[in-house]
């Protein structure tokens, strides 16, 4: 009923006179619909009538010696008339409706879900290669094709799904899990010595052992053959085993006697940038570092409104200026640095094993510290060397 009255339009009128109840009687007799009768005082009533009955009501009120004054108006046409007086609203409303529909046909945010070991940016860059980035036309995305291409571009993924909701693109991925398998990595392979050494321990699970403890071997020498000889026939296998041997590593490391040390000057400045897709707008602060040496500390924040993340990022970078000065290293410091580097490099060059003994010789000359390091290690010697049993005939 209220909605119907709103569509037809209604007036709130004041009836003032000596006998306003007589006016109400005339309204009811004259067929003027009225409601929400409010008695302000004995001479003053307030009622609501339909807008189209205004003239009849005025005439009836005059016959009852009352005056009828319109104090408020409501209804659809009244609202439209009010809207017409606001040009910004008049143009803004259709524009907002248009934008609400038009902007949905573009991708504004890409949400990647399901990345565990893989960084989401890897998937994001792959999508960009496929032409899906902020601002891309959503109706031109071939979801099945994108999914297949994504799996091809990122081999770490085993499954992907691409869906869109408005201007938001949801990409769900599942990473490939490498299951531990007892299967050997090659169909046929030998174990050969990786470097020169003396064998200290042998444990062979598959293949024919061709070495023994105490034997001296050269790099590339066959330790365990992948061809098993059973007398009547040969069988190619992937040789498996652990062969440890004593080895010697020698290296020469050099470091300058003087080193440059960083010292902050106390000068620092901040730069704030607004990033939208690939566009970058410098909001405030110096955009360059004017050729000085400085450290940069960056912080990126995504713009959020009522919990909704927008594809807009505010990047704040703090630049701290520094200068360098030369400091002379002591022999002790240089030796410690170089020996630590020597041990680290040696350990990195071994698959398994340990360093048993070390010896260093330090000398200084020409503004340089030179360290000759030698160490004895007990390390894994065997390396897999695959072969083709048909074409190679078992030759490593």
């Amino acid at each position: 009923m209220g909605a119907l009255r709103f569509l037809r339009g209604e007036l709130r009128v004041d009836i003032t006179g000596a006998a306003p109840e007589d006016c109400l009687n005339r309204f009811s007799c004259g067929g003027v619909e009225f409601w929400a009768i409010e008695r302000v005082d004995a001479l003053h009533y307030r009622v609501s009538i339909l807008k189209r009955a205004q003239k009849t009501a005025q005439a009836l009120a005059a016959r009852a010696f009352c005056t009828l004054t319109v104090c408020a108006e409501r209804g659809l046409f009244c609202r439209l008339r009010q809207a017409l007086r606001r040009p910004v609203l008049l143009f803004g409303l259709p524009l907002a409706v248009f934008l609400a529909f038009f902007l949905q046909s573009f991708v504004w945010t890409v949400e990647i879900d399901g990345c565990e070991a893989l960084h989401p940016n890897t998937v994001r860059y792959a999508l960009e290669e496929l032409g899906i980035a902020v601002g891309a036309r959503a109706d031109r995305i071939e979801y099945k094709q994108v999914r297949d291409s994504l799996l091809r571009l990122v081999p770490e993924l085993s499954w992907a799904a691409v869906n869109r909701s408005g201007g938001k693109l949801y990409v769900s991925v599942a990473e490939r899990r490498d299951t531990d398998s007892n299967e050997p990595p090659y169909a046929a392979a030998h174990l050969v010595a990786a470097r020169d050494g003396v064998i200290t321990q042998t444990e062979v699970a598959e293949g024919m052992t061709l070495c023994r403890v105490g034997q001296t071997v050269r790099a590339g020498e066959l330790l365990v053959s992948g061809v098993e000889d059973y007398g009547l026939y040969l069988r190619a296998v992937c040789a498996q085993g652990e062969i440890y041997g004593q080895t010697w590593h020698t290296q020469t490391l050099v470091t300058p006697a003087n080193s440059n040390v960083k010292r902050y000057t106390g000068q620092q400045w901040t730069r704030t940038t607004l990033r939208f897709g690939r566009k970058r707008i410098n909001l405030c602060g110096n955009s360059g570092n004017s050729g000085t040496t400085c450290d940069k500390i960056g912080k990126v924040r995504q713009v959020r409104l009522f919990g909704v993340a927008f594809p807009i990022y505010v990047e704040t970078e703090i630049f701290r200026e520094y200068e360098t000065y030369s400091v002379e290293k002591t022999e002790e410091t240089a030796k410690n640095d170089l020996s630590a580097a020597f041990l680290r490099m040696t350990e990195e060059s071994m698959i398994g094993g340990r360093i048993e003994q070390t010896a260093y010789r330090m000398r200084c000359g020409g503004g340089l510290y030179i360290l000759n390091g030698t160490c004895t290690c007990n390390e894994m010697l065997a390396r897999l060397c695959p072969f083709d049993p048909i074409s190679d005939g078992g030759t490593p």
């Binding site: 109840e21 007589d22 109400l24 009687n25 009811s28 409010e38 004995a42």
Partner: protein, 87 residues
């Protein structure tokens, strides 16, 4: 004509207010009174509402009285109703 109507009402057992313009006052508890076949409001205040009917007035007394709805046929009076009398 009146005689015919009266006899018709008696014969058909129809309500008399449907055939003749006799007033019908209905009280819905103490909150609502409905006067049908009225001839307009004679007096209206928040303690007394007098409604003209064919041969007199119906007085509704109470407090906080107000006319909720009024049509050509009936008047609805709401409020705390103390009494309704025909004078």
């Amino acid at each position: 004509m009146k005689r015919e109507k009266r006899s018709l009402a008696e014969r058909t057992a129809m309500p008399e207010e449907a055939l003749r313009n006799v007033p019908l006052v209905a009280l819905h508890g103490r909150r609502l009174a409905c006067v049908e076949n009225h001839r307009g409001i004679a007096e209206y205040s928040d303690t007394l509402v007098r409604v003209s009917v064919g041969d007199g007035c119906v007085c509704i007394r109470g407090s906080g009285l107000h006319i909720a709805r009024m049509t050509r046929r009936c008047v609805e009076i709401r409020g705390a109703i103390f009494s309704a009398e025909l004078s």
